[in-house]
């Protein structure tokens, strides 16, 4: 057991993956000496050398496009995209090549590429540094999409993503990078499968569905609601493509009320898919429609307005009141 920040847990996870398999390489802008702008790759180049930790030219399409070729040659590239808003130049390579190569080749070519993307807001950054583009990727068949909400998951999930033979988009909640928690690095195997959601708090009155940065927010909201006698369950989805909704359906059948919370703009966000599936699966158990709390349908606002833009404890509780009013 050791106390690690989420960023350090990712670092430790990558290190362990690199130690375990010489084909694992790390590539991206500033991942070398600098250790990445968030220091997530800190020290890796020093210990594994420039051949395995590659500072790339400033070109995201190049990062992903060459990663495809490296994967075809037998490597397992772990690509860092510096910020969420800078993944779009690589969108074509991700959507048309990474996602499709395996089915295109009828299973002959597998691309074990991990694309790490620090995402979400709340850090007071300038434009393009606070986005939540996960729905773009979850709507893309051929990709797997996951996100971690705490250091332990960070540590294990990054290793599982690297070990996966499928391309994984790995979203890291950047505003939680400095959150610290226990990580049991001694375990010989991951405690939870990569593509599993987890009930992180049980409850009876309503269920909060969330992932990444919003897990902490939802847990705090549930805590606060408890004071008012409302017993809320919280599910950390962890895997966004594929979803793992078995445990969710069970909870929903028990609680009859659901709120999905994410930072991404509501329209077309993953809350829509979750709402649609839950309604279809649990139609007769629902006491209320699935409510969604998310960013407004605006381009991400200037930093000093982001607290008003993002879902927070109060917006979640407001939705709880509304869902319970049905």
């Amino acid at each position: 057991m050791t106390q690690l920040t989420l960023a350090k847990a990712l670092n430790a996870g990558m290190r362990r993956a690199m130690e375990g398999n010489p084909k694992v390489i790390v590539m991206g802008e500033d991942v070398g000496k600098l250790g990445g702008v968030f220091r997530v790759t800190d020290g890796l180049q020093k210990d594994f050398g420039e051949a395995r930790v590659i500072d790339t030219p400033l070109a995201e399409s190049g990062i992903i496009g060459t990663a495809v070729g490296l994967a075809m040659r037998g490597y397992r590239p772990v690509c860092e995209i510096q910020f969420d808003g800078f993944v779009y130049p690589a969108y074509d390579q991700i959507v048309s090549q990474v996602a499709k190569m395996r089915v295109r080749s009828r299973g002959k070519v597998t691309l074990p590429v991990v694309i790490r993307i620090p995402y979400g807001g709340g850090i007071g950054a300038v434009e393009h540094h606070s986005e939540s583009p996960e729905a773009y990727f979850a709507h893309t068949a051929g990709l797997k999409v996951v996100t971690c909400g705490n250091p332990s998951d960070a540590y294990w999930m990054i290793q599982q993503a690297i070990a996966s033979d499928d391309p994984v988009i790995f979203f890291e909640p950047k505003r939680r990078y400095h959150d610290k928690a226990e990580v049991n690095t001694e375990l010989s195997a991951p405690p939870v499968p990569l593509h599993a959601s987890q009930i992180v708090r049980d409850g009876t009155d309503a269920t909060l569905l969330c992932y990444g940065p919003m897990v902490k927010t939802c847990l705090a909201a549930a805590e606060a609601a408890e004071q008012d006698g409302q017993h809320l369950a919280v599910v950390d989805l962890r895997t966004l493509s594929p979803f793992d909704l078995g445990p969710v359906y069970e909870l929903v059948r028990r609680t009859g009320r659901v709120i999905v919370v994410h930072e991404a703009p509501i329209t077309g966000g993953l809350g829509a898919e979750l709402a649609a599936r839950i309604t279809q699966e649990c139609f007769f158990s629902l006491e209320a429609p699935v409510l969604r709390v998310g960013g407004f349908d605006l381009p991400y606002p200037p930093a000093r307005a982001e607290e008003e833009y993002l879902p927070d404890l109060d917006r979640v509780l407001d939705a709880v009141d509304r869902v319970l009013a049905y």
Binding site: P57, G142, P242
Partner: protein, 409 residues
């Protein structure tokens, strides 16, 4: 399926970048073709066999194979052209959804592909049927894709030949990454001819305008990756003439990135072989990337759905017919008595057989099975897709049952 050309022998050097020709484009006026003889390829064109079938010397490049090899090239080109015309016919008959003809580009493809070694990895675009031929790809694997049976049916790792890439230019980055992997594997500059490996990537004049292609130039040069960028400048990107993609000859693009570029007569199989071989050898030896622009001509339509009469003159095509890549080799072989009538008759017979195989094989292809695809998207399947697969299979069955019942009624 066809003999490999030997890959040893002395190697002509790619001119170093400091041999860059001076830039003669004028900076006035609006866009348009580079002044001078772009249509003819310009004086910088490396040519070893004239349209009349005469051998030419070049200070930097020598064709180092014997006449047997040239006969082999001729056979490759004839058979490739036959596959091509058969596929075009199959499309007309409704057997293929579309076909992208390589007519006119046989020399560029056969010459360059025969210059590779077995360990070299090739990334094609979507028109490289001649290259596929040299990599022993069954022509039926090509027609199955254009028929809409699959998106590519061979194992790239088994034949060191990637699937066709349709998104223009994307494969140049894949090639560069693959070449970086070769470096990491220590398969460059060891001096061991069986170990040292290069990558060759095919793309077009139109593709040269894509960001990805230019990023590939940057990455490969910065990392000194062993990759040869083989640009088939067939003068057209659908309806856009190549002047739409660059105002100077395309082989000079690489000079801005610090690696050499050469323009070769893309209708001259000997020159294509010699220049590509040198470029590949440079890459394998650790000399880094280079650009080979094969100056050729797309004699057919862009694809079978295209109508080139809308945008180009018949006269241009007629002009290029005189430079046919097959005709000049035939002229060379006959003029020098290197073949007899039997050679052509035998080749004709072989081509007929091949055409028949392509025709009947394509027609006989089983329809694709959607249900299978659910298993092929991921290496590690997902419950969601399995559920969709189950639903689809049941639905499909029930629907067909119902249909049969309906018919029975």
């Amino acid at each position: 399926m066809s003999p490999d050309a030997p890959s040893s022998g002395p190697v002509a050097a790619i001119p170093p970048t400091d041999g860059l020709k001076e830039c003669t484009v004028t900076t006035e006026g609006t866009f348009g073709p580079a002044q001078g003889s772009a249509q003819e390829g310009g004086p910088e064109l490396v040519q070893l066999l004239t349209p009349e079938g005469e051998r030419r010397e070049h200070p930097d490049y020598t064709f180092d194979l014997d006449d047997e090899a040239i006969r082999g090239f001729y056979r490759d080109m004839v058979l490739t052209r036959r596959i091509d015309s058969e596929a075009t016919a199959l499309q007309r008959q409704g057997e293929l959804g579309i076909w992208a003809s390589l007519l006119g580009q046989e020399a560029a493809q056969i010459g360059s592909a025969r210059a590779t070694r077995a360990q070299d990895f090739i990334f094609p675009s979507y028109r490289e049927h001649g290259v596929a031929w040299c990599r022993d790809i069954d022509p039926l694997a090509l027609t199955s894709m254009f028929r809409g049976v699959d998106h590519g049916a061979w194992d790239p790792g088994a034949v060191n030949f990637h699937l066709y890439t349709i998104v223009i230019g994307a494969q140049t980055l894949h090639a560069t990454g693959y070449a970086m992997g070769i470096q990491k594997d220590g398969c460059v500059g060891t001096g061991d001819p069986d170990r040292d490996t290069a990558v060759m990537v095919y793309f077009g004049d139109g593709a040269s305008a894509q960001g990805d292609v230019n990023e590939a130039f940057i990455w490969s040069s910065v990392f000194n990756a062993p990759v040869v960028f083989f640009l088939q400048n067939n003068q057209w990107a659908i309806s856009a003439p190549s002047e739409k993609q660059s105002r100077i000859p395309l082989y000079r693009r690489s000079s801005g990135f610090g690696f050499p570029g050469v323009r070769v007569d893309g209708n001259d199989v000997l020159a294509c072989y010699a220049v590509t071989k040198a470029a590949l050898q440079q890459a394998r030896e650790g000399g880094g990337p280079s650009l080979v622009e094969a100056f050729t001509y797309r004699m057919g339509a862009h694809t079978t759905t295209d109508d080139p009469t809308r945008y180009r003159l018949q006269a241009e095509l007629e002009h290029w017919k005189h430079k046919d890549p097959l005709a000049r080799v035939k002229a060379y072989l006959t003029r020098n008595g290197l073949v007899d009538a039997d050679f052509f008759a035998e080749l004709e017979r072989e081509a007929d057989e091949l055409a028949e195989r392509v025709r009947s094989g394509t027609r006989a292809m089983p329809e694709p099975n959607l249900a299978e695809l659910f298993d092929l998207v991921y290496a590690e399947g997902t419950p969601e897709l399995q559920e969709q697969q189950r639903w689809y299979t049941e639905y499909h069955a029930s629907f067909h049952d119902a249909a049969s019942a309906e018919v029975a009624r």
